[in-house]
Symmetry: C2
Subunit: 385 residues, 2 copies
């Protein structure tokens, strides 16, 4: 696992925030700094109000450590995970742990200004409602269901976000919230969340998000791989199928056109079964509705086929399947079966295939972690006074 710089005060804060270190001694061991230097820095961090001492911890055979934790006053991040029709909002502490959660109904299609303004206002009132008025906000993180250019913080040619193309989301949010903003694709946030929360020891991870669409985030060497902003796209690979379906991208027979939640809903609709949200598909499968089970199994085979090649190529330590459809046991086991059958033994001999462990908050956790990773600047600034 790798973050920003491995020294500096922000590194100590990260170690404490992520729960890796609880005492000066642990900080010294993990940071590589001399114990004396750690003591000095911790002193500064306590004076600056970022750390707090909290009694003594358990002895490990010698003197008991003086436990360190983040001060409440250290700050919080505002985080929103935007879907097509609603947003999950959260105030998280610097460790990424949710202090408050809320949902907001909002149609992303009304355009960026209106949506983002409403989201920011709701985030602020959420913080106030939970008595966090006195906790400084250190950053805002927004997850979006479309490709984000990491260089500019803009959404680039999204398929389901009319009016958002090339809109300067990052600048808009940073201006309106008055703090640094992080804009990221939702599948990428989910990947970071799963990695940090559930698989911190693994360096290479693929996280597939199966919901209305099909997304994928990739962790390489402990860090999110963005490429030029489009990395992780698996939904527009061409697959082989009997009936040809045209995809919104203009090509025929993309994976997304056959195996996404939206595609499944459409297929079931043709059988007279109306589905509004992907979660309902899970219910149908659980209830043993044959058309649903069959459709999901077909989708699983198609997804598994595509993932086979990617697993061979990327050779990850784990493949995590998340998103609302991942709760359909049938879907996951079909995918798992295809991969184990068809991948090279070398690629699967140590491969974990698991469902999401961070659950529905994975995106929020991920945003918190990324914001913490980028906290060097304001931490240094606070200490410099």
């Amino acid at each position: 696992m790798r973050t920003s710089r491995d020294d500096g005060p922000a590194a100590l804060l990260r170690l404490v925030a992520t729960g890796q270190a609880e005492s000066r001694a642990e900080l010294a061991r993990l940071s590589g700094l001399a114990p004396s230097s750690v003591s000095l820095r911790v002193e500064q961090l306590i004076e600056a109000g970022l750390f707090a001492e909290e009694g003594a911890g358990a002895s490990r055979g010698g003197r008991r450590p003086r436990r360190l934790r983040l001060a409440r006053q250290a700050g919080a991040f505002l985080v929103a995970d935007l879907g097509a029709h609603h947003a999950r909002l959260s105030v998280v502490d610097l460790a990424g742990a949710p202090l408050a959660l809320d949902e907001l109904a909002c149609d992303i299609a009304v355009g960026p200004e209106e949506t983002l303004t409403a989201v920011i206002a709701s985030l602020r009132s959420l913080a106030h409602a939970h008595g966090l008025r006195d906790v400084p906000v250190r950053g805002v993180g927004i997850g979006l269901p479309g490709p984000v250019d990491p260089a500019t913080g803009q959404v680039v040619s999204p398929s389901r976000m009319p009016g958002w193309n090339d809109f300067p989301v990052r600048d808009f949010v940073a201006d309106h919230a008055g703090v640094p903003a992080l804009i990221e694709n939702d599948a990428n946030l989910m990947a970071v969340g799963e990695h940090r929360h559930s698989w911190p020891a693994l360096d290479n991870l693929m996280v597939v998000k199966l919901g209305r669409g099909i997304g994928c985030g990739v962790i390489v060497d402990g860090r999110l791989h963005r490429g030029r902003g489009a990395a992780g796209d698996i939904s527009h690979v061409r697959i082989l199928s009997e009936a040809t379906v045209d995809c919104s991208c203009g090509h025929p027979d993309c994976l997304e056109a056959h195996a996404s939640g939206a595609a499944l809903a459409a297929a079931l609709g043709a059988h007279g079964i109306e589905v509004e949200r992907p979660a309902q598909i899970v219910d149908l499968v659980t209830d043993g509705v044959p058309q649903a089970t069959s459709a999901v199994r077909t989708a699983g085979r198609l997804i598994g086929d595509v993932l086979t090649g990617l697993v061979n190529f990327f050779n990850p330590d784990a493949l995590v399947i998340g998103g609302s459809l991942s709760e359909a046991e049938t879907l996951v086991s079909t995918i798992r079966g295809v991969i184990y059958e068809r991948c090279l033994p070398l690629a699967t001999r140590n491969l974990e295939i698991a469902t999401s462990r961070a659950g529905r908050d994975a995106c929020i956790l991920g945003a918190g972690h990324l914001l913490l990773d980028r906290s060097d600047a304001w931490i240094d600034h606070i200490l410099d006074r």
Copy 2:
């Protein structure tokens, strides 16, 4: 572009070796160290015999810089790129530039002990023949046509290297040569070579090696991505074809079974055209032999199909096509066409698709660079006396 640590004496040596810095001032700028610290370190490196001063460079408006370069005595690496039937041998300086080149006929199928012993002996005599007896050897690098486990330095279930499975190649070479050994897959070495030699400014690269087999090396964030040792495999993706061909891996219709140099040779053999080496296929295409052109075009389409999905997923800055078959213009243009037609615009808008620029020595260059990246230990050791 990222290497090992960014400070320390080895970092300065790397900057000079790679030609990024030629003076103390440049070293200070690029390393982030204070000019005074750089001067001190350079002094030590000169005393240790690793650096040499070489007159003054061109002025950039003020005092002329004192040019630094690697001392001849600083050392050299021995490098071998092993193919199925012959090996390319080279002595390279610390910058990775070949000081001497040679070829050795050797059948890799006779087993690891015999092959490696012969290779090491030939490397030593190559160095002696070029008057490098007094230059210390700092490491040996070996490229192999099979998957290498980065943790153990062993070859893992190679398809065309009988007797090599689980043989401790790295330990054997290190013991017999008496210096640290680097063992790596040949496509991976090629990727590093292309990256450092031709595309140092790009961070994400796919390098496809088309020869007798199909290999691929991946550079992520400036560093070689190994995964668990099998990363970069693209040859056993299932493709769709009319006639079914079984692959050595046990599955039907792998890319390699249809589009590799070996597969092309077999297909041409069925038409009564005997081919021994992949390069001969290039000649046939250049000569306009219709069966060859047609076969190569089909192979290009298959390879392009597979790469499409990977380019969408990985979203690289450039896709480099190397290996002996890459000299067939038809093959490359077919691949390029398929990718530009079928990939997402987002993935191709800034994508370079190019043929190898480092040419046939790419593997050797790559090995040199990787060995330099791992030179921290011995450099520190020399300075510590």
